[in-house]
């Protein structure tokens, strides 16, 4: 195991891009708001870098120049109102520059009016349930079989051999591209949190409360996330998979889901 750890450390040092999914930064995501969120993240980050360069720069200069071993005599000043006013005012200005665009995005995030599709997301220990309000489709979504077998303690299965280990489900949430999807998030037992990084959505699922959130995916594809709020022993094992498909494919998917439900009902 130690050998393996060292090997992966070595791989990290040498290659850095050994794995395709290997990421350093927040994903830009596939909705307008996920891109805005990413931009806010980078905006604050670069401000921090700029402040850091100045503050650490001054400090490093002092550390090298103003040391006793260089024979300097310590100065005697111990305060300066001008300096203190300046370094109180500048951060205030920077904060205002940050706060305005951030507040604009927040207003948009909360605007879940006029959705094209509404889906009730109910969290259970430890799986998700999705109910499409108008389409009459509902189903549970839980950890895929391959991950389920490999996740057991000392299962003997190497997680590296499992596709999308711990991030795959039996039945994904399917949504059409370019549609405003409203999620009504709640829980049947404890607090969970529905999170898909590429959609930049994280909403707590709380018993007794229905939370609203929304997204509008701009690109087709498969996007993965996980429960983000500690919800008991299998908290790490209730992933979320969202498949964004073309609107036509979505309609076809809804029809087949309905048919299969009718089939099951008629055989009863």
């Amino acid at each position: 195991m130690i050998q393996k750890s060292f090997l992966s450390l070595l791989a990290l040092c040498l290659a850095g891009t050994a794995r395709a999914e290997w990421a350093l930064n927040m994903p830009k995501g596939i909705t307008d708001l996920s891109v805005e969120t990413y931009n806010i993240h980078m905006l604050v980050f670069w401000w921090c870098v700029a402040i850091g360069v100045v503050v650490f720069g001054v400090m490093i200069v002092a550390l090298f120049k103003h040391r006793k071993s260089k024979g300097v005599k310590p100065a005697t000043f111990s305060h300066s109102t001008t300096a203190e006013v300046i370094w109180t005012a500048i951060p205030v200005i920077i904060l205002m520059l940050i706060a305005v665009p951030v507040a604009e995005t927040m207003v948009k995030l909360e605007d879940s009016r006029d959705p094209d599709i509404s889906i009730v997301v109910t969290a259970y220990q430890w799986k998700w349930h999705y109910r499409y309000q108008d389409e009459g489709v509902s189903f549970y979504s839980s950890l895929a079989r391959a991950s389920l077998d490999a996740r057991r303690k000392q299962s003997g299965v190497d997680p590296l051999t499992v596709d999308n280990y711990l991030l795959d489900v039996d039945r994904p949430l399917v949504v059409p591209r370019d549609a405003k999807v409203r999620l009504l998030v709640t829980s049947n037992d404890v607090v969970h949190s529905w999170w898909v990084p590429d959609l930049a959505i994280k909403k707590d699922a709380i018993p007794g409360i229905i939370n609203e959130t929304w997204f509008n995916a701009r690109e087709v594809g498969t996007y993965r996330g996980q429960c983000a709020e500690l919800c008991g022993k299998d908290h790490g094992y209730m992933p979320i998979v969202v498949e964004v498909v073309e609107p036509k494919a979505f309609q076809a998917w809804v029809d087949t889901r309905k048919e299969s439900v009718q089939k099951v009902a008629s055989t009863k």
Binding site: A62, H79, A99, R151, S155, L167, P207
Partner: protein
């Protein structure tokens, strides 16, 4: 007891400590109680650290190798409770006990018997908490935040968790009352409030925070208790209660708690940086105002821990703006430390090294804090390893480094001997390298999408987790060097009264080691004044 009281009334010769275990069990002496707090804190640091080692070993590579998810959750929960309430807070109380009377020229803490009680409650509280590991259903596993309804699924450990939290709260409140009464009443003549050393100031503010919020925590956990056993529904939706209300109450405690753990750290480094820069602290008064501002703001930002629970837009905006404001007074403190170093004559003994690392690395934690304040981005960061990285940066190279710095700084005053400087420096460099190796990669993990509090993860997170685990094991082992440095300090060269060339303040006017009784009469105004300058 009676004879002791009669003794004290009859004569004032120097009488030393009581013999045997009674010296510790019945101690009303600030130095002995301070020592007990510090030893207790170090013990808890290693117990909590051992749990961190379990966590990081399990997370070193994907797949479950060592523990079951249930036990993993117990480890994360207990690690946090022990480190917050058992290691960091008692360490600062220990430093306060030792140093506040020495710094303000008082003979002892104002309420010595309460002091004894507030210490001895702690070993009881943590024995109760640790005993839950052996109970059916195991230790609490619902996170240190104890969110209902999950926490109500705890097994037999549940009432023990609540009662141990109650006891920790009682201990903290008594300690805080003692600090306030001591500082307000027992200062040397001429030591006006604004002449007080920064460590005393930050502790005074911290003590008020403690008194304000520990009862709130006690109330919250008591409501959990009655929800579980007495049929109430404060937090149970089925009975008309609101699970989110617990989060509001908890974080009303929890956010000031964050500053309870960092303000005394600000105080410690504000003592050390001037000493080794051979220059007075820059902007003493603005430091006081900044700390007070931070304390005030800490009461109106709690819901930034809850941007994902579903709050009205106006609420979110308010908490976001208030949170961003904290950057201003915190910035003032950092700029003032840098200005203190500027054009000083610095030397780099171990306490200074730890303090400098504190300024660098706490600032990095502050940057990630500013990023977290931006609510839309916080929605992405929330409950991921980015948050884990953030609060470990402010707590480990923040609070813990300040405690280490303080320990090395005052150790010669406590023991009368210089610790081994080379050993201290090795400890410092090992700690600093490993702490960054542990926590820096966690930023990337969080941004890439790894949630916190999970025992196993998807394979794309492997590399950074492995690095973090190697760093964590290294950091854990490095702390043994600290124990070694402390234990060998008694063999070092004799310390002078002043110990450090640039030191200033009343604690350096008494001999090293500090005699058992100090300042039985208040220091003369002139001496005191010189010491403040």
């Amino acid at each position: 007891m009676n004879t002791a009281v009669a003794d004290a009334l009859d004569h004032h010769d120097d009488h030393g400590p009581a013999k045997g275990i009674g010296r510790w069990l019945f101690s009303t002496h600030h130095k002995d109680i301070g020592t007990m707090y510090l030893v207790f804190s170090l013990t808890m640091f290693f117990i909590g650290g051992a749990m961190a080692m379990v966590i990081r070993s399990e997370l070193a590579i994907p797949g479950l190798q060592f523990v079951h998810p249930e036990f993993f959750n117990q480890m994360t929960t207990m690690h946090a409770l022990i480190m917050v309430f058992g290691a960091v807070m008692p360490a600062f109380v220990g430093l306060a006990n030792w140093m506040i009377p020495l710094m303000i020229g008082a003979p002892d803490m104002a309420l010595p018997r309460m002091n004894n009680w507030s210490f001895w409650i702690l070993p009881v509280a943590f024995s109760i908490l640790l005993s839950t590991l052996l109970m059916p259903g195991g230790a609490p596993a619902g996170g240190w935040t104890m969110y209902p309804p999950l926490v109500l699924q705890t097994g037999d450990a549940f009432p023990f968790l609540i009662f141990s939290v109650h006891l920790m709260g009682i201990s903290s409140i008594m300690g805080a009352i003692n600090v306030i009464v001591t500082i307000i009443n027992l200062r040397a003549p001429d030591m006006t409030l604004l002449k007080m050393p920064m460590f005393v100031w930050t502790w005074l503010i911290t003590a008020y925070l403690l008194i304000a919020v520990m009862p709130v925590l006690a109330g919250a956990v008591t409501m959990l208790l009655t929800d579980q056993f007495f049929g109430t529904s404060f937090f149970l939706a089925a009975g008309g209660g609101d699970p989110v209300m617990f989060q509001h109450i908890f974080w009303f405690f929890g956010h000031p708690e964050v500053y309870i753990m960092i303000l005394p750290a600000f105080g410690v480094v504000s003592e050390i940086i001037p000493t080794f820069s051979r220059k007075k602290l820059f902007g003493h008064d603005s430091m006081v105002y900044a700390a007070s501002c931070i304390a005030f703001l800490s009461f109106i930002v709690w819901a930034h821990h809850m941007f994902t629970v579903g709050m009205p837009l106006t609420g979110q905006l308010f908490f976001m703006f208030a949170t961003m404001l904290i950057a201003v007074p915190t910035g003032v403190k950092i700029f003032n430390w840098v200005a203190t170093m500027w054009r000083g004559a610095m030397t780099f003994e171990t306490p200074m090294l730890f303090s400098l690392a504190f300024v660098f690395l706490f600032t990095i934690g502050g940057f990630s804090g500013l990023m977290l304040a931006a609510a839309p981005a916080d929605i992405q960061y929330h409950d991921t390893y980015f948050v884990v990285a953030h609060f470990h940066y402010v707590l480990v190279p923040g609070s813990v480094f300040a405690i280490m710095a303080g320990a090395y700084y005052w150790l010669p005053k406590w023991t009368g001997h210089m610790y081994n400087e080379a050993l201290g420096k090795v400890h410092f460099w090992a700690s600093t390298i490993f702490v960054n190796l542990t926590f820096f990669p966690m930023h990337f993990l969080g941004l890439a999408g790894m949630p916190r509090r999970i025992p196993d993860y998807s394979t794309q997170f492997t590399d950074f987790n492995t690095v973090a685990s190697i760093g964590a094991i290294g950091f854990g082992l490095s702390q043994l060097l600290f124990v070694w440095a402390v234990l060998t300090a008694w063999k070092g060269s004799k310390a002078t009264d002043r110990v450090w060339e640039g030191s200033h303040g009343l604690e350096w006017t008494v001999p090293s080691p500090a005699p058992y009784h100090t300042f039985e009469t208040p220091p003369k105004a002139r001496i005191a004044n010189e010491a403040f300058e």
